[in-house]
Amino acid sequence: MPRKRYIQAINEALFEEMERDPKVIVFGEDVELAIFGDTRGLLERFGHDRIRNTPICEATLAGMAVGAAVTGYHVVLHMMFSNFIYTGFDAIANQMAKLRLMTGGQIELPLTVIAGYGGGRSTAAQHSDTPHPLLMNLGGVNVLVPATPADAKGLLKQAIRTKNPSFFLEASGRGGDSGEVPDGDYTVPFGRAAIARAGADITMVAIGSMLKPALSAAEKLNLAGIDAEVVDPRTLVPLDEQTIVGSIEKTGRAILVDEARDRCSAASHIAAIIADKAFSSLKAPIKRVTVPNVSMPYAPNAESRVLPSEDRIVQIATDLVRSKQLA
C-alpha cells in the first residue's frame, strides 16, 4: 500500500466523493486556498458552485449546512479550528442535532463538518480545544476521530455517504503524519474500533491524536515486559463498546488516553462504560490520561505540561500493572 500523509488522505476522500456525487458541496472560510491543505485543488476541479469561500459567520454557516442538507445537498462544512464550532454552536446543538427527531424523522441530514482539534503548536487557548466531548453529549451527531491516514480517508468517505450529520475531527498538528492508505475506493464503517496493537496485560484506549503517543508508550512498555493492547475507537459516536469491553475482559486493566479536558471527557465516558460492563474483569482502577481542567497555555513548556505524553502513559501503565492485583 502506498504511504500518504494524513491531510492528503483527507484531500483524496473529498476529491473522490465529489467526483462520485455531484450533490456533494464544500463550503467554509478560506476553503479555496485551503489553510490546512485538506481542500486544496478542489476549486480548480469542481468550480465555485461546489466549493466556495464564505464570509466569517459560523452561526450562519452551520445553519446553512442544515438548510442545504435538508433540501438535497450533501454539505461538507469546513469550520477550520474546532474552537470555531462554538461560534456556530446554536445551529449545531439546537438545529443539526435535533431537527430529525423534532420533525418525527421526516428529514435526512447528510452533512459533514470538518474541524481541526488539539494542541501542541502553541496556538494558545482559543485554537487548541478538543471538543469531542461536547459533541458526543449532543446525541444527534456522529463524532469521528481518525488517527491514521487510512482511517481519515475511509471515515470521511463514509461520512459523506451517510444521511446523518457527522463531525470529522482532524488532529490539527498531524497533517504531515504519514501512513499506508489502501488504493481505490473504500470506506471505514462507523462504530468499529481498531486494535492498533494486540496485547495481554493492559488495554489502552487512545483517541485520535493520542494513538501515536499510546503506541510509542506501548513499545516502551514492551521493553519493560509489559504487553499493552492499544484500542483506537476511530469513532466516538457511534462507539464500539464491544471491542473495548472485549479488550478489558482479556487484559483486566484500562487506561483511557484522550486529548480532551478531563471532566466529562470521552475518557470519562469510556471509563464509565468499562466500570459498568466489564466490571467483573477488572483487576485494577481505571485510569485516565487527559488534559487537566485548564485552558491550553501558550508557552511550549506549559503546553507540554498539560498535554498527555508518552511518559505519563508509560508511568501510569507501569504503576497499574505492577501494583498488587486486586481481584
Binding site: I25, D49, T54, P55, C57, A59, T60, L61, A62, G63, M64, A65, V66, G67, A68, A69, V70, T71, G72, Y73, V75, D90, A91, N94, Q95, L99, R100, L101, M102, T103, G104, G105, Q106, I107, E108, L109, G139, G140, N142, T162, K163, N164, F190, P238
Partner: protein
C-alpha cells in the same frame, strides 16, 4: 398586480382556517388539554396567508415558535397539525415535535423553530440549494421583530445578497418579544438593517392582506428570477399573550394596556378582508359566514381526529433520531 377575486376568497379561507384552528387551540390550552406551551398567531394571519399564497408547494419556508399560521398557510394539513399539538402519533411529526416544531417537508415547510432566529440560516441554506440546482424555488424566512436583533439576521442578509440567493425575509413586527415591547429593545428601524444591503425592502401594513400579498408577490418574483434576496416588514400586532396562560407567568405584572389590544382588534385582518370582499361584491356576508362554518367543520374534524388518535409511540424517539442508525 392585485390578487384576483378568487385569490381573495381563498386568502379569506386560509386566514379563517388559521384563526379558527387557533381559537380552538386557545380554548383547549386554557382547559389544560394540551401538553407544552402554545404560542398563538391570532391577529397576524394576513402575513402568513398573504406571503404563502404567492409560493408554490415546492418552495420552502422556515417559521418560528409561533408557527401554526405559517404551517397552515403553506398548505400543511390541519388534522396532522392538531394531532401533533395533542402529542399524538398521527401528528405531522408523530408527536415528537409539538406546537413549536410543526414541519411538513412534503409541503416545503422546513419547520417551526423554538430558537428565536433559528430559521434564518436554515432558509439561507435552502435558498443556496435552490440556486445551485437551478430549480427556481424560493425560500422564505418568517421571523419576529425580536428575532431581528439576533446577529444571524445580518449574517444571512450578507450571505444571501452576496450570492444572490432566492430568499425572502419576512419580519412580522407584532410589537412584542415575549413580555418586552419591541421598541424598548430595538434601535433604529429594522428595515434599515436590510436596506444597508441595497436589496428591495418594503414595510407594509401586516393587517392588510392585500398589501402583504402585493409586497410578497413582488419580493418572491424578484427572488425567483435570480436577482437575490428581498425583505418585507409586516406591521401587525400580537393579540394573544406571548403564550397561552401567560397570566400565570406574569403574576400580576403588566407590559401593555388592555386598551391597546382593543384598538388593534379593530384592525383585525380577517374582518377587514371580509369587509373588502363584501364591498367589492365578491361575496356576501352570508356567503362568508358559510365559508367560516365550513371551516369550523374542518377544525372540528381535526380536533376529533387528534383526540381519537393514539398517543405518540415512545419507542419512536429512538428510531427517528438518526436515519438508519441507532442513537
Amino acid at each position: 398586480m392585485n390578487p384576483t377575486n378568487e385569490q381573495l376568497v381563498s386568502l379569506f379561507e386560509r386566514m379563517t382556517l388559521i384563526r379558527l384552528m387557533e381559537e380552538r387551540l386557545r380554548a383547549d390550552a386554557g382547559a389544560g388539554r394540551l401538553p407544552g406551551a402554545v404560542h398563538l398567531y391570532i391577529g397576524q394571519e394576513a402575513v402568513a396567508a398573504g406571503v404563502c399564497a404567492n409560493l408554490d408547494e415546492t418552495d420552502w419556508i422556515t417559521s418560528t415558535h409561533r408557527g401554526h399560521g405559517h404551517f397552515l398557510a403553506k398548505g400543511g394539513d390541519p388534522k396532522a397539525m392538531m394531532a401533533e399539538i395533542w402529542g399524538k402519533r398521527t401528528g405531522i411529526c408523530k408527536g415528537m415535535g409539538g406546537s413549536m416544531h410543526v414541519a411538513d417537508l412534503s409541503k416545503g415547510i422546513l419547520g417551526a423553530n423554538g430558537i428565536v432566529g433559528g430559521g434564518f440560516a436554515i432558509a439561507t441554506g435552502a435558498a443556496l440549494s435552490a440556486k445551485l440546482s437551478g430549480n427556481r424555488r424560493v425560500a422564505v424566512a418568517f421571523f419576529g421583530d425580536g428575532a431581528a436583533n439576533q446577529g444571524v439576521f445580518m449574517e444571512c442578509l450578507n450571505v444571501s445578497t452576496l450570492w444572490q440567493l432566492p430568499l425572502v425575509f419576512v419580519c412580522e413586527y407584532n410589537h412584542f418579544c415575549e413580555f418586552t415591547p419591541t421598541v424598548t429593545v430595538t434601535a433604529g428601524e429594522i428595515a434599515d438593517r436590510a436596506r444597508a444591503f441595497k436589496i428591495p425592502c418594503e414595510v407594509v401594513d401586516g393587517n392588510d392582506v392585500v398589501a402583504v400579498w402585493k409586497a410578497a408577490a413582488q419580493a418572491i418574483e424578484w427572488a425567483r428570477s435570480g436577482k437575490g434576496p428581498a425583505f418585507i416588514e409586516a406591521q401587525t400586532y400580537r393579540i394573544q399573550g406571548h403564550l397561552e396562560s401567560e397570566d400565570l407567568f406574569l403574576a400580576g405584572g403588566k407590559y401593555r394596556e388592555k386598551q391597546e389590544i382593543e384598538e388593534w382588534r379593530k384592525a383585525d385582518p380577517i374582518s377587514r378582508l371580509a369587509k373588502l370582499l363584501v364591498s367589492m361584491g365578491v361575496r356576501t356576508a352570508v356567503q362568508l359566514d358559510d365559508i367560516s362554518t365550513k371551516i369550523a367543520g374542518i377544525v372540528e374534524d381535526a380536533v376529533r381526529f387528534a383526540e381519537a388518535s393514539e398517543p405518540a409511540d415512545p419507542e419512536l424517539t429512538f428510531e427517528v433520531m438518526f436515519a438508519g442508525q441507532k442513537p
